[in-house]
């Protein structure tokens, strides 16, 4: 299937005008499939970590949102054990006006602002609510263990 102009443009811009702390590179054999890295935001327990993710643009993109999941283990109430992400703009609040770059920025922002009231990983969300400091310490340990290059 021919790649839409929209995807070609987005891909070019991701390469030429990269967002600091974020990269997205398409696979040679599947230009809808991207290797992604997101740097943990500063002043978060993910600071200093580089988190790998994968992103796929389905057939009907941009009418439907990209699919994305983390490949690096991360301790976060809105990200589950398989790296799936609970974020409104990836689901009901998706709009074709959003782009790969805005989605990745939203995910980076989610790392800086966990939302334990809308959890995907229930055990993590509970830990977060019961003892936030301890949960943050665990998140920092996981960053150290799994996300350091």
């Amino acid at each position: 299937m021919a790649l839409s102009k929209r995807i070609i443009k987005e891909t070019q811009r991701l390469a030429e005008d990269a967002v600091p702390g974020i990269s997205a590179v398409p696979h040679d054999d599947n230009l809808r499939y991207f290797d992604v890295t997101i740097d943990g935001p500063s002043q978060s327990p993910y600071e200093g970590g580089v988190f790998k993710a994968e992103l796929f643009l389905p057939d009907d993109y941009p009418m439907t949102p990209p699919k994305i999941r983390f490949l690096t283990r991360i301790y976060h109430p809105n990200i589950d054990r398989l790296g799936r992400i609970c974020l409104d703009v990836l689901k009901s609040n998706w709009s074709p006006a959003l782009q790969i770059r805005t989605i990745l920025l939203s995910i980076q922002a989610l790392l800086g602002a966990p939302n334990p009231d809308d959890p995907l990983a229930n055990d993590v969300a509970q830990a977060w609510k019961q003892d936030e400091q301890a949960a943050i310490a665990t998140a920092r340990e996981w960053t150290e263990k799994h996300a350091k290059p």
Binding site: N30, R32, E54, F56, K67, R81
Partner: protein, 139 residues
């Protein structure tokens, strides 16, 4: 032809379908280890087809999806003992040259495709009366 869904996203789709129980009633499948980011190892079950020696039996299987899945089919083996021409009696492995959907594998096929076909294979006139090992025995 549509966009080529990469392995991991395809497996996530299958996982969600399996978790929600959207698939065929007589077969089920799920990840062996919910922490496995590679999603390689799966467990499946098949409820024995009616009007056969398998009726009311539940068969457990292991499914391994390699790096090339779904471009190549997964490896499948029964953990429950079963007497079928496509199953190696020494270890429960399903012989990929004996099950039509594995012989003519297509990228659109899923783990569910295979489980359903195995169930149909169990119910074939030439297979449905084969003597079976004791219920509950494993390889």
């Amino acid at each position: 032809m549509g966009a080529k869904v990469p392995r991991n996203f395809r497996l996530l789709e299958e996982l969600e379908k399996g978790e929600k129980g959207l698939g065929a009633e007589a077969c089920s499948y799920g990840l062996d280890n919910g922490d496995d980011l590679l999603m390689s190892d799966w467990n499946g079950t098949i409820l024995g087809p009616p009007h056969s020696v398998h009726e009311n039996r539940i068969y457990s299987l292991k499914i391994h999806c390699g790096e090339q899945y779904p471009d190549v089919p997964p490896e499948i083996s029964f953990t429950s003992k079963i007497n079928l021409p496509c199953v190696d009696q020494r270890n429960g492995k399903v012989d990929p040259s004996k099950l039509p959907c594995l012989v003519q594998w297509k990228r659109e096929f899923t783990m569910e495709t295979i489980l359903i076909e195995l169930r149909r294979y169990m119910a074939l006139p030439q297979h449905k009366k084969l003597p079976q090992p004791a219920e509950g025995s494993t390889y």
